[in-house]
Symmetry: C2
DNA sequence: TCTCAAACGAGAGCGCTGCTCTCTCTTGTG
DNA sequence: CACAAGAGAGAGCAGCGCTCTCGTTTGAGA
């Protein structure tokens, strides 16, 4: 008998799949990037071979975790922006989203490392991840585009952009359907890269023995990014 | 018989140690972060247990590689700055050093990932690395300090710095013996973090399907950092 | 309602890993 | 010249990812 379009078996299967991922995430949190499929199976009280009914390989499990992490990261960015009240305070929105991303990274460092750290084994997951991966930059770009539409954008400055890079930026804007001109897109992209750098720098221990007031330091940088883009 | 203060045995030992590291680096380059001590031993035609005469554990081998990588990275920065002719073109020097760091990272991606990527197994190497690790930022800070001394620094701007962060920056400047005032140190530190972000962003695949003209894109960002610091 | 193929779980096993221990041979120094 | 320290090899342990085989469960079609 079908229930809600899916059989009971399928439902149980989905639940166990989720439970495996949950246990894997838990182990990842304490063990670092070295995820042991056998340990996950042990945790769940099942034979290691049984896990292979749900994930064809350890890498496939990791891929699933990566996709989930991308989704969680994107969701964090979206809700942070949505919850920000003063919609025309674009710099404030940028900082709020940046903070949310950092905080998500701090609560789930190994998952952040999974998606944005060094590629794990030989190479990374296939490009099933492109969808969820684009949620975060989409939020960032959205803030900038809205600011531009509201006329709240400081006049463009920044280094000159070589002609060929400019055409590539234009092509990029077209393919991802982003309505920003080349200099603005360049500044936004650079700010995104900078944001990623600031979070990774802290998370991967480069700030150790240098700065303890990390939240304040991060805010300083996030405000710098907003200023660099031209958000007011 | 002692030779140059070290016995022959010690010399041979040092050579073999170096050879092990070399083989490990080679394997790391093709295999990613998963370094197999047994494979290294196999490559060298020796029993895996013999390697333990030279490195107490796989982690210790990795630590040695990390220290070497930090040193190589620092050396790349230093020579790039030293070779730059127009000493008062501080923005040019910054960009030259940034380029050198990126190029080193591109030629040895796994070694870069080792030192600046996500911490590998459970946690990272001990703090034997602090010395070599500081060579790169020292070069960057040096350029800024020289520019300031030459009066080639644009007037400070940037986000406000909270008082407590400011005192911590002052303390940091004191402990690492850097002669930069708080706002300038903050801008330099932020630029360093940004530089790290730009390199990692490219190296870890975040630029894939977005920008192909990577050298030009990197230059654009490097120039932006110099401008943000105030280098002329 | 019964049947049977598909789904599932467990266990054994393969080759790999890091690491330890023991045994033998070499080496350089007192 | 003796002998302890250094060095290499090999066996072995527990763990890993993954495969295969063998019973059991289950749910959909006859």
């Amino acid at each position: 008998m079908a229930e809600r379009g899916t059989s009971i078996r399928a439902r149980v299967r989905a639940e166990l799949t989720e439970e495996i991922k949950k246990a894997a995430r838990a182990q990842l949190a304490v063990e670092g990037a070295n995820l042991s499929l056998r340990a996950v199976a042990r945790e769940l009280g099942m034979a290691s071979s049984a896990v292979y009914r749900y994930f064809a390989s350890r890498d496939e499990l990791l891929t699933a975790l990566i996709i989930d992490a991308y989704d969680a990261l994107g969701a964090a960015a979206e809700t942070a922006d949505a919850r920000y009240k003063r919609r025309t305070d674009f710099a404030g929105r940028w900082v709020a989203v940046a903070r949310a991303l950092r905080e998500w990274a701090l609560t789930a460092p190994s998952e952040y490392a999974l998606v944005l750290g060094s590629p794990v084994p030989g190479y990374r997951a296939p490009r099933d991840t492109t969808g969820p991966a684009s949620r975060t930059p989409y939020v960032l770009v959205g803030i900038v585009a809205e600011a531009r539409d509201a006329g709240q954008l400081a006049p463009a400055d920044g280094p000159p952009i070589p002609a060929r890079l400019r055409t590539e930026l234009a092509a990029l804007a077209r393919t991802v359907e982003v309505d920003l001109d080349e200099p603005l897109l360049a500044r936004t992209l650079a700010a995104w890269s900078q944001l990623y750098g600031a979070i990774s720098f802290e998370l991967f221990g480069q700030l150790d023995n240098m700065i303890d007031r990390r939240a304040e330091w991060f805010d300083y940088q996030a405000r710098g990014m907003a200023a660099q883009i031209g958000l007011c």
